[in-house]
Symmetry: D2
Subunit: 468 residues, 4 copies
């Protein structure tokens, strides 16, 4: 499973409001799928900042009796993904810092490619870092510039210096700011609700506070929310963007609208295109839950093959499942997924999933389905082969681990023991998304990235920076 982060910002026009924490809580709840490791909320009441952070799910960390002690009309929130070795409270966001003129709090979704360089630069000046996160680098850059510049100029400057992906919600004292990188890699949108504005990684968060989506934050745009007003600054007008395709394939909720596109329709359309690209004579389509379902619905609609659940998912997969030794790995798959043999026996089954990383889970599933009596097992995949790592915010795998980086489709087909294997083509994916290829980041599928990464090929997007 890949994971990312989610960010939120909320501001009420009425500065006497104390509802920002609850609204942020609801919004984070809707973004829980973007990160389950830790979560935090920072709010401002006009005179001071209040913070609530912790390891765990939104509902575990932001308990009622704690949340009601936070007071504020404006604030930001974050859910964080889990990576190895860094699962510590210090890295829990939003990151809040004290500076000359008060406090700054930052919530970040994305990954900086040049953060080590920027760190080294600061460290060479004798600065120190208390966390291992990119966000502390952003905070330093921002504060340094705020010394003798206004907010918009300071952010203008960090946009010039940061390389990589960043959708940010920032709280400078009681001013809320939304920033999206010039490539628009990670999503960020905003809306209006009765009482104020809300910014969030996905539009689904806006719905939870009863708001309506206004639009995506444009790539290279900065929006400042202050005193009940919002002002937009287009710091950068990219000729081309680099929207992450994996948001459409896997991350985002199907009901999200992202860069103007409904995720559900894209996934369903990919399913339809898979019928054309890799037709097969199957008796049933059985999606691998949950991520294969919408692809499967599209496939069935187009092909007329019956949709049938041959695999059921256990809804209560906990976070700390006991798996005592290697031999038990097979148990793990069995605990997460059960087959329904009566739906599979003697049938030619078409499984459909969002992607293949190492191939080991796919192999176990194919074997389970065969063991349940399937005559044939075909596999269709809603993404093209992943051949290269992600450097822009997805915790995916190393190149060594990516099976498609080392094997042909036929090789993967053999490895996972499928009668046939078909990935959607890059052309098909781009058609389904409905955004020109030059405006997408296809780095993990092509090995060509929109920013320079040492040792990797790059096709830079052309950016035009405005000045403030």
């Amino acid at each position: 499973m890949y994971e990312s982060c989610g960010v939120v910002g909320v501001i009420y026009s009425d500065k006497r409001s104390v509802s920002a924490p609850l609204s942020i809580y609801y919004a984070l709840y809707a973004l829980q799928h973007r990160g389950q490791e830790s979560t935090g909320i920072t709010v401002h009441d006009g005179s001071q900042v209040h913070i609530l952070k912790g390891m765990g799910l939104v509902t575990d960390v932001h308990k009622n009796y704690k949340l009601k002690d936070l007071k504020g009309f404006v604030g930001i929130g974050h859910v964080r993904y889990s990576t190895t070795g860094e699962s510590i409270i210090e890295n829990c966001q939003p990151l809040t810092v004290n500076f000359q003129d008060g406090t700054i709090s930052i919530a970040h979704n994305g990954n900086l490619v040049n953060s080590l360089d920027l760190r080294a630069e600061f460290e060479a000046e004798g600065q120190i870092f208390l966390t291992s996160s990119d966000t502390e680098v952003i905070a330093r850059l921002l504060v340094k510039k705020l010394l003798d510049h206004d907010i918009i100029s300071a952010i203008d400057d960090i946009i010039r210096r940061l390389v990589g992906s960043y959708s940010l919600t920032i709280l400078i004292n009681d001013t809320l700011i939304a920033v999206r990188d010039p490539l628009g890699v990670k999503p960020l949108c905003f809306g209006k609700f009765d009482g104020g504005y809300i910014v969030a990684s996905e539009s689904v968060a806006i719905d939870t506070v009863g708001g309506v989506l206004i639009r995506d934050v444009h790539p290279g745009e900065v929006i400042i929310f202050k005193d009940g007003e919002m002002t937009s600054h287009r710091i950068c007008r990219p000729k081309n963007t680099a929207h992450c395709v994996f948001e459409y394939i896997y991350f985002a909720r199907a009901d999200a609208i992202m860069n103007g596109k409904l995720v559900y329709q894209i996934r369903s359309r990919i399913g339809e295109l898979l019928v054309d690209e890799h037709p097969v004579d199957a008796d049933i389509v059985s999606p691998i839950p949950d991520s294969g379902i919408t692809f499967g619905i599209g496939y069935c609609k187009k092909s007329g093959v019956d949709y049938m659940e041959g695999l059921m998912k256990n809804r209560y997969i906990g976070r700390t499942f006991i798996m005592p030794d290697q031999d038990m790995r097979e148990v793990a798959v069995r605990l997460k997924l059960n087959t329904i043999p009566q739906n599979l026996v003697d049938r030619s089954v078409l499984l459909i999933d969002d992607s293949i990383v190492r191939g080991t889970t796919s192999r176990r599933i194919v074997d389970m389905v065969r063991k349940a009596g399937a005559r044939q097992v075909h596999m269709r995949i809603g993404s093209p082969p992943i051949i290269s790592p992600c450097y822009l915010g997805i915790d995916m795998a190393t190149r060594d681990e990516l099976v498609a980086a080392h094997k042909t489709v036929a090789g993967v087909e053999a490895l996972i023991n499928a009668d046939s294997l078909g990935y959607i083509s890059i052309e098909g994916l781009v058609e389904a998304i409905g955004i020109p290829e030059d405006d997408l980041c296809l780095g993990c599928l092509t090995g060509v990235y929109p920013v320079e990464i040492p040792g990797e090929e790059c096709k830079r997007r052309q950016l035009t920076l405005n000045h403030f």
Copy 2:
């Protein structure tokens, strides 16, 4: 949501085995959907009993470092549902008691109709009760008889005395016993795995330990597992059973086989029959996740209407969700379910759900779908109207709360604001299940129960008791 309980029993032939706790853990994990309030494991190592219990999910209570301290080759487990006012550790099962000849531990799924009478009888003798559960009553009956009878006679006796539903796994010292009431109301099945036997509420638990289902425990049957052997005793041969239909409609996992029937096929078939019983000219079928999905698949297959997800569920609904006041109830539905307006707008939408209890949630969902732009909203229900409470193990609602107890279908249709509403008929349900009506408990649908309940109508099943 309705809730019930789940029970498990595991025995290894090799008494030196210490794996019973882990196998029970896996099995409970697969039964987590049957109860999320509390869980417990009792094992025996041949000389003494070990217990691990707690409030919460299986993965939260049975942590690795605790589980490895339990040693035993035989044991039982339980997951418990949540009811008002009784959510206390004292009621967490299995219940373990000390008696003259050692210890007895009992895990119970079901509900006794005469437990208050039995309690009163014991209390009149000067006995005391430390818990408020039926299980303590069963323990007392059992131990009293064990004074001067062997195990099978003692259980014979309790079967004669208990009225109601009970699927039990019992651990008397290191003997494992499975008991199912003569009406077979609640499910119970057993299987064999490499190393021993497993008993469980649903067959899905058997899969998690790599075992194979042997068969259901027969109504009125007692199976004793001891010294690597199993012996069956058919204490009672009912002319008719009273299998709970709600297990098929809602409780059981779709991949469970229960009384010889695959739940998935029954739900899918109900969906098909709904097409015949309540045809409608809809543009799409959008099941209410998760419980409506399999009905929806059957409906689509038969009708040819497109399956399309108009409602998405948040996968991370926590147990302690904050809902500060009444006005926020609407928020709750919005947080659990999001609409996908693009899939709904200007369409005639057919929603499908498993059942309607109070009607308030259905109303909110219909309103959400309308607000998202649906032209028409039709509702189909995979159960007949619920007109009477359950007394045999489901925490459903009082008669006052049951909307169908007081309103006609037309009245409910108006209440939930649907363009049309269609329930499956009792005949359709029975046909889909494939078990004769006289062998099912339809109490909540007909008001006629298989056991005598004060103030309710009863059609008793004919039972023939064997003697031991």
Copy 3:
């Protein structure tokens, strides 16, 4: 360290009062020294019972936000000591049971000598036990008799049947009852405060609610508090009592008044008598904190030797101290006690402690003091040699472990490496306490017990039972 339990009962005359939980909390807090393993409070509001229990200290278990949910004008409380293998929530008191006429809750300090017999008797009738505590036995006896007798007759009966020590506070629905065994082994007293009555193991608990001590509950007395009134029933008039001497030596707080005697004065007087019994030419008296201090003050007063702290105690000894291996045992003493070498060097030091059990700790302390430079180290002990175990409520040690059961005073002196060792004589102890020897339990010092214990010598007290 020895440990026991503490019990409390509180009743307000005004049944609308909700302050019983807080008053019980304060009282338990004052009795915390009698048991740190677990604690519980049961209160009654006139219509139903409320319970709060848990493992840990009074301040940890009875948190403010939980305590304020308990409502009641009457209730009981308990602090429990720690013994091996039984440290489980099931044994946490008060024990609350449901019976024919409502609920009974019992808090017990003491130990029954015949509880296994009584258990066996019940078990032979087919009864079961859910806990391993004596208290469940008492509950059963009580309820059985309450079937056809009033409260006072029922308690009369249990007093006839129970052998051993028991100071009880009982809550039968909203009636509070205090019971003390006919021998008066364990303390129990009661007092009046503004608003009602309070019963407690030690008078110090009465002070915390601003009350005044009325008197001890007499041995064999039952006091019933109901409807603002108290009625005393002297069920048994013992010719002789058997007050535990270890309460005076170690358990009770020095500021407690017990059987009419101030503990402080007794300890101080023992210190004085030790001067006469075992004079020595010491430069300083350095008590072993905290239990040796009051003895030391008496010794100094009488002898004129300087009181000087040669040993300091770490005030923050936690409950879960890490002690990785056997070699670290010496570290443990060093962490609990530090010497002040400047106060010890080249001096003849007289240490004074309450008692010696195994002798290993005494040895380590003597060695520490020698290592700190003391010229001579003398040891004086506020109790006579402990030669036999306690069967009446103190978790002391087995006979094998008791060093004085196997060695002469000279032998113990050698073992602990002291220049001289002197215990107070039994005569001295009795004189200091000021209660006739025949009215004390000296079982652990003489091996002669006031009740029959298999394999031990007994000198029964003469009891006259009244009838109800």
Copy 4:
């Protein structure tokens, strides 16, 4: 109660050792009295740093199963005091930062007078602060200088820049450093144990690892422990020091040796001097436990008046004691202290305590003693009147709160309702300590401080800085 912090550093000569965490744990345990709010341990294993921090007591935070995961041969530790509004995990020390050449971890006892200035200076350069502690300021200064200087020069520089008190243990990668400010305000000493060196706030910590005190770290001295060797650098040779007198009066454990003086002897001597300075005809001396005890022993020795415990302390004062409203304040004192009326009645009682801050607690105690029947109540205090706040590391009180800042001794005497009140004189205190007045910090007693503090009088010490 006043509170401060405690610091520790441990290094093993053998870099393969993994025992540093356990030794630090033992040492922190011995320093628990210096801070109970939070605690942390940072260790280094030669290649990387490991951290364990948390809110609470040493035994609560550093659990066995966590501690054994820390590996390292060198490390530092901290216990932190509690102040209002800052009780958050972010401020828990040691503070660990990443810089150009690795990691730095700092544990700090003391208070910087110019930290806001230094912060402002950094903030003016655009730097940010993630915590509100002085320690982050020290970390920044240190790292900045380390850019182009070696360790000793860098520390030389911070000593020049920091104004205030600071006893530091620092871990730069795997080098351990001890630093004490040129005034020697807060204590710091070091010792040797079998295997390596230990640095600690008080000598008592050295004892717990079986080590021996070498000496105090000199004011203005830096000691570097590396590769099994220690090197001392006397960066500053003050003509006069400013040792905190409150360490002798209250903070330090009586068994600590500080600046070459045994705390016990000083307190005992103060007690003796109080006899001369404020003689009174009392029947008994009853110290207020625990802080008044050693003063009381000295008083009794000199005066010949009987030492008698008229007040007993509850040993189990928890950290989260419930005190529902203002009226209950009196309860709080009653729960912490009980009188023994029999020791007080009709007597002229001399109470003795370490100090008086607001006077309210003293008043409550005097009233309790009177209520218990004392004929007269005299109060003697082991410190002179506190007339001015502490700016150098003690969380004492504001000037407004200090009763002696506004009232004469007669006024305080009246306020606390004592028959007589006598403070030790400054001359007496200085004599008892045995260090020249010019080498002590008497700021809180005289209002004249050893460093410049805006609005306060200052008598600067003369310092001679060496150069590196």
